[in-house]
């Protein structure tokens, strides 16, 4: 379509659009002269200028060993660190308040208690779930923390002590320690005697009716077990001796499980978290475990909730 005279007289004007062409043609296709809008062009130039400035201010240019550092020394790692510091600073007042409050006084400050429980829930997920389970329901050998059966006591203070010093932790003088003899393995009781004791324990825990074996077991129990488990088998928290009359069994209450326990004994351990976690975290964990439903010793039983502390939603 492009006539030779067009090349002499300059670009042709396209009829339908009224726009001049660029003057070149390829296979019958011509290009219209529609330059970029000026504002667009200047925006583009501004972006280039901005990009250059950006490369100077921020680390952007790669190098052989290390890249450019930027004029202000900004790094993403540094930004993360400062955000972490800010988060830590935001938590600081709560932690300070926890440090200043004896754990027994926590219930007097419901707001702090609620924060402690929330913090404890998080810390529990990190530290305690492997043994006690995500719902703190435990498993064979790992106590269920939801129930109301406590080997070493279930008040806030008791739980705090257990957490801090652990169970049977060597090197910690205040650790929870007790040792049940391996009655069968060490030959203190003969296998038949063990069965009698098991019969007796199953009788006092309501799992089996009394019989001759249990009667024989009662005598053996009185001779060997009452020192720790008490005359009535209700256990003793001083030694962490379990209550044998209730329905909660750490290692199982079946005949087989009890036979195993009496024969070989168990001595479960728990780390002393006082070495690893801060006192405030331990308090938070204790508050959380206490809140799971089995916590003991309420400072004020049936205390009215904070009813009068009306929270205004107004301006």
């Amino acid at each position: 379509m492009s006539a030779p005279e067009n090349e002499k007289t300059g670009p042709r004007i396209d009829e339908p659009t009224g726009t001049s062409t660029m003057g070149h043609e390829w296979d019958g296709i011509e290009e219209l002269n529609t330059p970029l809008p000026t504002w667009w062009l200047y925006t583009f130039y501004a972006c280039i200028v901005f990009a250059i400035g950006y490369c100077v201010v921020y680390p952007a240019i790669p190098g052989i060993k290390e890249g450019s550092h930027g004029t202000f020394g900004w790094t993403s790692r540094g930004q993360l660190a400062s955000e972490m510091d800010a988060a830590k600073a935001a938590r600081a007042p709560v932690l300070a308040a926890l440090d200043a409050t004896p754990i027994a006084d926590l219930p007097k400050n419901p707001e702090l208690l609620a924060k402690a429980v929330a913090g404890g829930k998080a810390a529990f997920k990190v530290n305690c779930v492997p043994c006690h389970g995500s719902g703190a329901a435990g498993s064979i050998g790992y106590p269920n923390l939801n129930d109301d059966d406590w080997l070493w006591g279930g008040t806030l203070t008791d739980i705090q002590t257990t957490l801090e010093h652990g169970i049977r932790q060597p090197g910690d003088d205040a650790t929870r320690t007790s040792m049940m003899p391996s009655f069968g393995r060490d030959g203190i009781l003969k296998p038949a005697d063990v069965q009698d004791v098991v019969s007796y324990v199953r009788q006092i825990s309501g799992q089996e009716p009394g019989n001759a074996s249990a009667q024989r077991g009662a005598a053996l129990f009185a001779a060997n077990c009452v020192a720790c488990h008490g005359a009535d088998g209700k256990g003793n928290r001083m030694f962490g001796a379990p209550n044998l009359t209730d329905k909660v069994w750490l290692y199982g209450g079946s005949r087989t499980a009890l036979t195993e326990t009496v024969t070989n004994a168990h001595a479960g351990v728990m780390p002393a978290w006082g070495n690893r976690l801060s006192p405030a975290t331990i308090k938070m964990l204790a508050a959380y475990v206490h809140s799971l439903g089995g916590g003991e010793a309420f400072a004020a039983p049936a205390a009215a909730p904070a009813a009068e502390t009306a929270t205004s939603t107004g301006q």
Binding site: T9, G10, R12, I13, E15, P16, T17, G18, T19, S20, P110, S134, G135, A137, N144, N146, D147, D148, D149, G206, N243, D246, K247, V248, S291, G293, F298, P301, A302, A303, A304, P305, A306, A307, E308, T309, A310, T311, S312, T313, G314, Q315
Partner: protein
Amino acid sequence: MTNMDPKGLTRQPPKRLHAETQAVYPRAVDGRFRRLKWAVMTFCLAVYYITPWLRWHRGPYSPDQAVLIDLEHRRFYMFAIEIWPQEFYFVAGLLIMAGIGLFLVTSAVGRAWCGYACPQTVWTDLFQHVDRLIDGDRNAQMKLAKAPWGPAKIARRLGKWSIYLLISISTGGAWIFYFADAPTLAREFVTLQAPSIAYSTVFVLTVTTMWFGGFMREQVCIYMCPWPRIQSAMLDEKSLLVTYKDWRGEPRGKKSPTGAPLGDCIDCGLCAAVCPTGIDIREGPQIGCITCALCIDACDGVMAKTGRPRGLIDYVTLEDAAREINGQSATPHWKLIWHARTLIYLGIWSAIGAALLFALGTRQHISIAVSKDRNPPYMILSSGEIRNAYAVRWKNMEARPRKMQLVLDGPAGARMWSEDMAKDMAARDLTRIIPADTTSPLRIYVTAPAGTHEGKLSFTLRALDQDGGQVSYDTRFDAPEDEH
């Protein structure tokens, strides 16, 4: 570039797809519809500016602003009504009512919304009065527009635009007061302590008000607004339209060159000169007509001066137009409203309104939500009892503390206690005082005797004050499966 193409095809201006926008300089007019427009405009602006400053005492626990959209605390206050987020259907219902109300008004009186109450109309009208105040009436405005730029024109333009800006800022400024306590926010706003969202909102609304009301004006109605398109589909032969009665007016003219009798229209052009959207109503119904009826006022004035009856341009329905051409008398306007479409819209509109009012009257101001612990699903206590745990949320939706009782309905012998009390106080019901406007979480433990099977369990929350009210929540009680 000066050499022409031999075929003569070059240098043709490109074909335009639309007509050039003509500036509109509406002339001032007086008359009954103008006065109605003044009244509606005053009312609408007054409602808009004054509403946030109205106070409504709600007691010490709630804000005392009569109309407040409290996004921060997620509450919507409207006089005695307080809406919580989960009651947003009230707002949805109001929006549906507004939509159907628009249909109702359209079917009854045509595009009255466009002509009188639409914010675009109200603010455009306001800006046009500013034009007349600063630049003078139509002729003076046209003259000034054509005049070259000089100190006088610059001064006038700057003066006018400053007033535009003032109106725009106060328009945007009033909007933010609906979202926070007005006196406090006003003080914070001027002392530069308001949240940045307040400033950006005012900025955006100032720019849009200035641009749409001050400069775009009728172009918003004609090119941007979808409503005229929808509306033209909603008008029928019974809708009131501003109509030029060509059967009475034509042939128009001041003086007949042939001496043939002329119609009533003397072709003074006043109807077109006063039109705020710049149309000539004598060309028939058109999308630019917002039925503001200023042309009726203008024409009635001329008719009075020339000693002819008013109403050459008037509100007429198509049905009535046919009757009038046949020489019959027009239907009274009030009767026009009384037809099937209007009544159906009115019926739907009132039904929704009645349903909302009913829901408002019977809604519970308490609520309960329960989520059952599933990890672990149940717990066996040392006594052999089975315990389940529930996170119960008591909600008091009134602006006063209320005494509430939670009642348990579950397996025989089931008793509950909460995290804030000792287990030996367990009972079938618990009473608490829930602070005003508060959702109060409480962990509830329920125990049932050993051997209980899993089954249904429900909590009922009861308000113990004079207004009463109760709500229930059904959940379940889990228990170990029998091993024997």
